[in-house]
Amino acid sequence: MSAGEIAGRFPEISRPAVSQHLRTLAAARLVEVRRVGNRRFYRLRPEGLAEAVAFLESMWSTSLGRLQREAEREERAHTGDQDGEGSL
């Protein structure tokens, strides 16, 4: 679908806003852009959402793993102080 056709389906949204939306969606890989001459055609990438969720899953798993290590290290340092073991 061309940008013009897409914009035609959303009369309540201004043309610059439609272009901005399309750029954002392309950056997020939720739409695919194909250039023919000086025209741009857009296609939805339904698989883009699955990738987005997979990205979040891996982000949480990596980050929470770091949280676990950091919290455990802090806890050990704290109990170390209390026991007077002087752990670094």
Binding site: I13, V18, H21, L44, V53, L56, S63, R66, L67
Partner: protein, 142 residues
């Protein structure tokens, strides 16, 4: 239609210790990203991650029950190369349950869009509506 990510892990630390890693920016930076936050209901939370396409998370605290439960909204700022539309409807709930000298942490990230309808359906309308809402919110915040 939406889907949820759920992860649970057991941390050998007290809930009080784990809690601080969500509400203290310096500690949050040690596991997630550079953070600016106001740990009160309605307070803003912004986290700039350092990995991959360096996405920036922007949200707002919804609920804070010290050492037990913390809820915030979760959206990505538009970042080239980072997957995902701003899922501004999504929210993250963290619960901490003491278990001996450990804590069981459960993270539920809900409200993630599950699937896009086809071209002929509401797919475009759905995406545009979400983007429109995000733009309005960003203007309201700034």
């Amino acid at each position: 239609m939406s889907r949820t990510i759920e992860q649970t892990l057991r941390i050998r630390a007290r809930p009080e210790t784990v809690w601080r890693f969500f509400t203290d920016p310096a500690r949050l930076a040690r596991w997630w990203g550079t953070a600016e936050l106001d740990a009160r209901p309605g307070g803003a939370l912004r986290v700039a991650m350092h990995e991959g396409p360096c996405p920036v998370m922007r949200g707002r605290f919804v609920e804070l029950v010290p050492y037990e439960r913390l809820v915030f909204t979760f959206a990505w700022e538009a970042t080239p190369g980072a997957p995902g539309l701003p899922p501004e409807a999504s929210r993250v709930e963290v619960t901490l349950t003491p278990d001996g000298d450990s804590t069981e942490l459960t993270l539920r990230h809900s409200g993630l869009p599950a699937a896009l309808e086809e071209e002929t359906g509401g797919g475009w309308a759905h995406l545009f509506r979400r983007l429109g809402e995000t733009a309005e919110r960003e203007q309201a915040v700034s």
